[in-house]
């Protein structure tokens, strides 16, 4: 079946973000306003040019009807979506759909969260007091509630089936820490070694502390509009080649029933997104793979066909995913090192990679001049990056994807 595609008809024209911190000291409303404003200015637009708004959250943020008016934006379309990881790419697709139908012209997508200081992941604090009922009864009474605890069966089974080792997977953190060391915004800029990762304390086997991402306070925003509208805007338009949103395995909420459980949703998403884009994995120069955990990056790169199924451990430990390697992943440091944004920051980073304007520590970065010297504290701009791909993760059973070009 031929894949329907809107390839190259829509663009991301603006990106914005607030500081990545562990204590913002302000509301998600204030942060969202700052991030949306920055993205609008980045695009060279005015508030009156934006007439659509999408955001996502899990009861931990501020809805669009409170953010838009703060900036003087009058909306022709908005929707507040429940969700975390994998929402970014899905909402890019929904924004394209909203514009395609004529409901609106230009959409701001934001995520704002005090993910460290207010609402931490995993049902701790206020969330821990919630009664357990319904589908939660299948796992929460057994001490299985956090994201890491919920994903660990999949990770462990992958190690059992394919011989994947902790040391191999640790290379994801090593690579991302290398990239974060060239990122002035990153929460954790120190480079780490494989030994640092496997020597850190256990959280839930097979995850060590350094296999897990950094909960962060932050807001992020992307502006989506038509390619036609994008042509006369300030920033170089970044074209959307393909998008897949929240593609899921059978029996999403109890996906362990359907196997192999070491398979993740990218297995189903890849044909949609590559079909739309008309390219193959080897055509992608830079990836941004959701790294809630080291394992999630490994599993997705494997499932989308950047290596063979089962060879993800060897692939991520080969140097390919590092800056200077054949196909760097999460050049900002990702959720493991830059900070946790439920997927948004990795799309922002890839937009900047394609523009050639990554905000690294090169002396000429502000003017878009890069040395491509990837030693400590220097460049993180990939030379001549033309095509990027984002691999969004909600859980083993649900994922999204986005392919962009300059």
């Amino acid at each position: 079946m031929a894949t329907k595609t809107l390839r190259d008809k829509y663009c991301i024209v603006g990106v914005g973000e607030t500081e990545y911190s562990r204590g913002s000291g302000r509301t998600t409303r204030a942060m969202a306003v700052e991030a949306v404003r920055k993205a609008i200015l980045d695009a060279g637009l005015r508030a009156s040019d934006v007439d659509g708004m999408l955001d996502y959250q899990g009861g931990d943020s501020t809805f669009a009807p409170h953010v838009a008016p703060d900036l003087g934006i009058r909306l022709n379309f908005y929707m507040d979506v429940v969700g975390g990881g994998s929402s970014t790419e899905a909402l890019v697709g929904l924004a394209m759909g909203a514009i395609e139908t004529g409901m609106c012209n230009t959409v701001a997508i934001y995520r704002s969260m005090n993910g460290y200081s207010e609402f931490r992941i995993g049902g701790t604090g206020a969330r821990a007091a919630q009664p357990v009922r319904g589908m939660d009864l299948a796992q929460v009474p057994f001490g299985m509630r956090s994201a890491g605890q919920t994903f660990a069966f999949t990770f462990m089974r992958h190690m059992h089936e394919y011989g994947t080792t902790s040391e191999q997977v640790a290379h994801v953190k090593v690579a991302h820490s290398k990239h974060a060391s060239q990122n002035p915004k990153a929460v954790q800029k120190e480079r780490v070694t494989v030994q640092d990762v496997v020597g850190s304390r256990w959280i839930v086997k097979p995850l060590h502390l350094l296999d897990c991402c950094l909960e962060t306070d932050n807001a992020t925003c992307l502006i989506v509009t038509s390619a036609e509208r994008a042509r006369d805007l300030r920033a170089r338009p970044i074209y959307i080649m393909g998008v897949a949103g929240r593609v899921s395995k059978p029996r999403v909420d109890f996906h362990w029933a359907h196997g192999p459980i070491s398979r993740v949703a990218g297995y189903y998403a890849k044909d949609i997104v590559f079909g739309q884009a008309g390219i193959r994995p080897e055509d992608v120069h830079v990836t941004g793979s959701y790294d809630a955990f080291t394992f999630t990056t490994m599993l997705q790169l494997e499932e989308y066909g950047f290596c063979k199924k089962g060879e993800g451990g060897a692939y991520v430990s080969s140097g390919i995913i590092e800056l200077g390697g054949k196909r760097p992943n999460n050049t900002s440091g990702g959720h493991l090192c830059e900070g946790y944004t439920h997927g948004m920051s990795m799309v922002i980073e890839n937009v900047r990679q394609l523009r050639g304007t990554v905000d690294d520590t090169c002396p000429g970065a502000a003017e878009g001049k890069h040395t491509h010297d990837y030693s400590v504290g220097k460049c993180r701009q990939v030379k001549d990056a033309e095509i990027t791909m984002n691999l969004g993760w909600a859980m083993p059973a649900t994922g999204s994807a986005l392919i962009m070009r300059r």
Binding site: R133, P141, G143, M144, F153, V204, P206, W256, A257
Partner: protein, 169 residues
Amino acid sequence: MPQPVTYRGMTLIVPDNDSEWKEYFAHARQHRLMLRACKACGLMRYPPTHACPWCMDLGWTWKEVSGRGTIYSYEVVHHAIQPGFKDATPYGVVLVELDEQRGQPTADEGLRIIGNLVKPDGVSFEDDTQVAIGKRVRVVFQDLAEHMALVQFALSDEAPPGRVWRLPE
């Protein structure tokens, strides 16, 4: 409405209108592991749901299973996030594949249930070094209230059918 059940600091609620779980936990309290089986195609399913995920039929009956199975995957929690589990760390959580309906209706599917690996008393957690993929287990029931018991698993003395594997230390 039955009283909420307190277990390890959590409040577990199975209201009278919980048409998925109420009877499942009531059966467990009678120390019977009962799953829903489709009246049309006969396939069992877990968790208990209202339609057959294979043929979409709405008719079902409760069917008792042996509660014997093999550990399909596992994890060991060292950093508990639920306060009531902090004194139990490190504890094992297991995904048990039941003997019934293994590899049906497709090769990679089975009836898999999440539980803790517990001692034969059904209450105290088994030593975490005992948790491994491929080990044989049997169901045990942890009574929590008059209307509710948790389905847990204990090691059985059966020989494992294949490779036993656990994460290298």
